[in-house]
């Protein structure tokens, strides 16, 4: 009887110990989950940090400069006397270089994507795609060197009177850099189009190129749109190429042969100097940064929406 009781007691305490162990496991699982959640939320904290700092410093800026002057003045000379704070010259520089870059990257990227997805043999695709991605792995300062000392002289041979650094040169090199952003995502979107659609077109007698252009391309539009917007937003935010080869002159112009300054190049120019914290010149870079952030935010959200749509389509 006693022996049995002791055995029972031993069993109970063993059970309790097990339960304690399990409880500890539970607690540990909880701690880990909370830690992981905190890591996931850190991305939100970064965004909040960005928005907070940009807005905080910009509020100081807009206390001294009116919104009308900021958006409608056609001169940007914040460090001269008398200062002008019109963002338009910087915006025109950013948009023109982006436009030139897209004129290079969109056709080349799209044709590359159609070729790789519809024409190339699998081994060619496997081989070429990573190589193309190296284009976006090259540091952008190196592209800047390339643009200023190799592409610019070449361009000057073709177009006489072209200044050594101008929006055209910077834009073209930037376009080469963003080809992989455009081609890679477009190709993914086209490859996600089901084979059945292609076979239907072939059965009706269409050749490859016709199938690609009239069936595959339209079916993949939202994914291709997302790729284009990714390229666009890269080009808007690109800094070093335009800072080195764009000319660094804030000038309201839509002629790509002119030198100009982009929003990003302005921030670099000011940061190289030593502006005292709190001065109006210091605050301008945050106002410029906020403009840039809002622009890319809009495009990123459109891109996100398009990408989601093509993922759900098939």
């Amino acid at each position: 009887m006693n022996a049995n009781l002791n055995e029972l007691r031993a069993k109970i305490s063993e059970h309790r110990a097990k339960k304690r162990g399990r409880n500890w496991l539970h607690v540990r699982e909880g701690i880990i989950e909370t830690g992981l959640l905190a890591a996931a939320l850190s991305s939100i904290a970064i965004t909040l940090g960005i928005v907070f700092i940009l807005c905080w410093e910009s509020v100081g800026f807009f206390k001294e400069v009116s919104l009308t002057q900021f958006f409608f003045d056609t001169q940007w000379t914040p460090l001269f006397d008398p200062p002008h704070y019109g963002i338009l010259p910087l915006l025109s520089g950013t948009l023109m270089t982006t436009f030139v870059a897209l004129c290079v990257a969109l056709p080349l990227g799209t044709i590359t994507a159609i070729y790789l997805s519809e024409f190339a043999a699998p081994w060619v695709r496997e081989f070429v795609k990573p190589l193309l991605e190296l284009l976006s792995a090259v540091p952008t300062v190196v592209y800047g060197y390339f643009a200023l000392y190799l592409v610019a002289p070449l361009m000057q041979n073709i177009i006489p009177d072209l200044p050594a650094s101008c929006m055209l040169t910077a834009g073209i090199v930037m376009g080469i850099m963003i080809i992989p952003y455009v081609s890679s995502l477009s190709e993914d979107a086209m490859r996600a189009v089901p084979m059945l659609l292609r076979e239907g077109a072939y059965a009706l007698g269409a050749n490859r190129i016709r199938t690609a252009l009239t069936v595959v391309f339209p079916a993949a539009t939202s994914g291709i749109g997302a790729a284009y917007i990714l390229g666009l937003s890269r080009a808007i935010g690109e800094t070093m190429i335009v800072a080195i080869a764009g000319g660094m002159q804030p000038k309201l112009s839509i002629d790509p042969r002119d030198p100009a300054m982009t929003v990003t190049a302005y921030i670099v120019q000011v940061s190289q100097g030593d502006l005292p914290h709190g001065s109006i010149g210091y605050k301008t870079i945050f106002a410029a940064g906020l403009t840039l952030f809002v622009m890319t935010l809009v495009f990123n959200l459109i891109g996100h929406y398009l990408k989601k749509r093509y993922r759900e389509a098939y």
Partner: protein, 302 residues
């Protein structure tokens, strides 16, 4: 019949024409890349010697070197890796394995996509305002590394998520069936299974950080540094010190930028030489990533 033949010929011609056009367009990028590398080698190969790698910056192009720059790059990359990699992997695990489908999760997801698209220079502005002035941490290696860490965080999260997602559910179910807890499943099975994908993403992200200069210019990296940061290792106890975190720094891409913007041609040759080193590092890292991805795809069959 003749018409049909003609039509067929025409159609086949169109296909062949586009195949050639597409091939040429694909080549454009690759040709430009090779021209770029050849141009750099032509301009900078002669300046690239042992003295160049071990000299401090100087006003004379012949005696200037990249010692401070490459040491700075390595130190900054260490801070970047130590912050972004654990944080990114943890966030990815949460989003893949724990997160329920609710507004918070989709908000975090949209937020990460957006962060991946934020121009790098904005991260620099954020660090300048928040770390340098608001928190008063100074313009040092730690702040520089943290800035780049934030910059590459989205890349690591996205890559890790994809790697974890590609582990088949059977692995998870088998582990659960044997009584493993969620974390045990993740730690003992999911992470080891997806380590290749995570490594690939991390290497590519680090190579991006090494080539990035704009945010560090904004944060205030110094170009004319003639003092090296103190060594992280020391001879006496406790063998490591953390003074290097608080020292001013310069990195490779900023050194290149500085030399590119000078008028004298001798400095341009230096810029080309430093670019060769930089491009060699980034392309090697990317090659490593490609190799891991390739081997992984060949070896693993679920």
């Amino acid at each position: 019949m003749k018409d049909v033949d003609k039509l067929i010929r025409q159609q086949k011609f169109q296909d062949r024409f586009f195949a050639v056009l597409g091939f040429l367009c694909t080549l454009v990028g690759l040709v430009v890349l090779s021209i770029l590398i050849i141009d750099l080698l032509r301009d900078g190969w002669k300046s690239l010697d042992y003295q160049f790698l071990t000299s401090f910056p100087s006003r004379k192009a012949e005696s200037a070197g990249i010692l401070v720059a490459w040491i700075g790059s390595i130190l900054v990359a260490i801070v970047t890796a130590l912050t972004a990699v654990p944080l990114g992997i943890a966030a990815a695990i949460y989003l893949e394995e724990y997160a329920r489908k609710n507004w918070l999760t989709s908000f975090v997801e949209i937020n990460i996509t957006n962060l991946a698209g934020v121009p790098s220079i904005i991260y620099g502005l954020m660090s300048l305002g928040l770390f340098v002035y608001f928190l008063g941490l100074g313009r040092n290696v730690f702040v520089g590394g943290l800035t780049l860490g934030f910059l590459i965080l989205p890349i690591i999260i996205v890559a890790t998520r994809e790697a974890i997602r590609s582990v088949p559910n059977g692995i998870r179910e088998a582990a659960y069936a044997l009584g493993a807890t969620k974390w045990q499943v993740i730690w003992h099975h999911l992470l080891p299974c997806s380590v290749n994908g995570i490594a690939t993403g991390t290497i590519i992200a680090l190579s991006r950080a090494l080539g990035e200069s704009a945010p560090l210019i904004v944060v205030g990296a110094v170009v004319f540094n003639t003092v090296l940061p103190p060594s992280p290792l020391q001879a006496n106890f406790p063998f490591v010190n953390f003074d290097w975190l608080d020292s001013s720094f310069s990195v490779m891409p900023i050194q290149v930028f500085n030399w590119v913007s000078r008028p004298q041609e001798a400095f341009h040759r230096n810029a080309a030489a430093a670019s060769i080193v930089l491009i060699f590092i980034t392309l090697t890292l990317n090659g490593m990533a490609m190799f891991i991805r390739y081997r992984f795809r060949k070896k693993v069959q679920w």
